[in-house]
Amino acid sequence: MNAAGTLRRARAGLPGLLVLIALTAGLATLIIVAVRGHPPPSQAQQVQQIASGLHCPICKDLSVADSPAPLAQQIRQEIAQKVRAGESATQIRAGFVAAYGDSVLMSPPRQGVAGAVYYVPLVVLAVGLITAFALLRRWLRAPQPDPPQAGSPQLSAAQRRAVAKAVARLREEEPG
């Protein structure tokens, strides 16, 4: 085995090695992203996120993030200050709820009476499904009426009475 042969073999194996390195790097990146999750949002993103969850108190159906009203601008500044001071989104929201009540939240809270908005439809759906299932089951189990046999059509009560009368008359007319 000479040096030229060794070099040739090394060159032949190089593409495979590059592919292996690329795959390893890709896998490592995926693992790092999965372990670390998304990068933390910037302060501006946090402010935007919190503001979009709060109703502008003087507007109709506009969030603090979307409203151009001066009060909404001041609320955004207040949120930004609190974010910079290290308050969490939950603490900031709680502060506004303490002053304005639950109506300041764009989505009703999941606790208390307002939580019924989330749970009642599920309960109604469950009751409806159970009722439908019970009715379907009863309907499938109910005895089906015998199908009319060929040549013996279903007669009404009046028709039956007429037939009975005719038969009785014929019997009376029979000799002996």
Binding site: L71, A98, Y100, V104
Partner: protein, 183 residues
């Protein structure tokens, strides 16, 4: 068997009627309420403290007024309804300031010059403070002006008025807090 089925059907019908009645009652309650009027969750709770610069005088700190009845009125020079209630607030201040009642006007989303002009022209005699950043307004859950909060001697908010105050109702509230007969 037939009787059982009949009673079962009657029970089912009664249940459906009850559910419909509850839903209708809830809707009726909601329809009877003015959606633009929000009950302040601060009533019954300690009034948020503030220290704000006075237009003409030293800063005012709410906590330092503990032991006195405080009427906090949020207003602005551009607010026409605030002009309507101006006389009532002045009258309250004149009538009760010697009985340990303080009226404070908190200027909201306004310029100092406009506020000074208003105070001078409309002869506002009670202390007026400037809430330039609206921090105090936000702490009080303000939705507009005028809004008024009455704070008792222990520092708790006992009344919240949206819109112009009724001078008779305000005097009656203060009198009952002072423990005297309404005049």
């Amino acid at each position: 068997m037939r009787r059982w089925i009949t009673s079962r059907r009657a029970g089912l019908l009664a249940g459906v009627v009850a559910v419909v009645a509850v839903i209708v009652a809830l809707l009726m309650t909601g329809l009877g309420r003015d959606p633009s009027v929000f009950a302040s969750p601060l009533v019954g709770r300690t009034a948020p403290n503030f220290t704000l610069p006075q237009l003409d005088g030293p800063p005012v700190t709410l906590a330092k007024l503990r032991g006195q009845i405080v009427v906090i009125n949020f207003w602005a020079s551009w607010c026409t309804e605030c002009q309507v209630e101006q006389a009532a607030l002045d009258q309250t201040w004149q009538q009760f300031q010697d009985s340990g009642v303080v009226v404070i006007g908190v200027d909201f989303q306004d310029t100092v010059d406009a506020a000074r002009g208003y105070v001078r022209t409309d002869a506002v005699t009670y202390p007026v403070v400037e809430d330039a950043s609206s921090k105090t307004a936000l702490a009080y859950g303000l939705r507009g002006v005028p809004e008024t909060f009455v704070v008792n001697r222990s520092g708790r908010i006992v009344k919240h008025v949206i819109g112009p105050v009724d001078p008779v109702a305000l005097a009656s509230e203060i009198n009952s807090m002072l423990g005297t007969r309404a005049q």
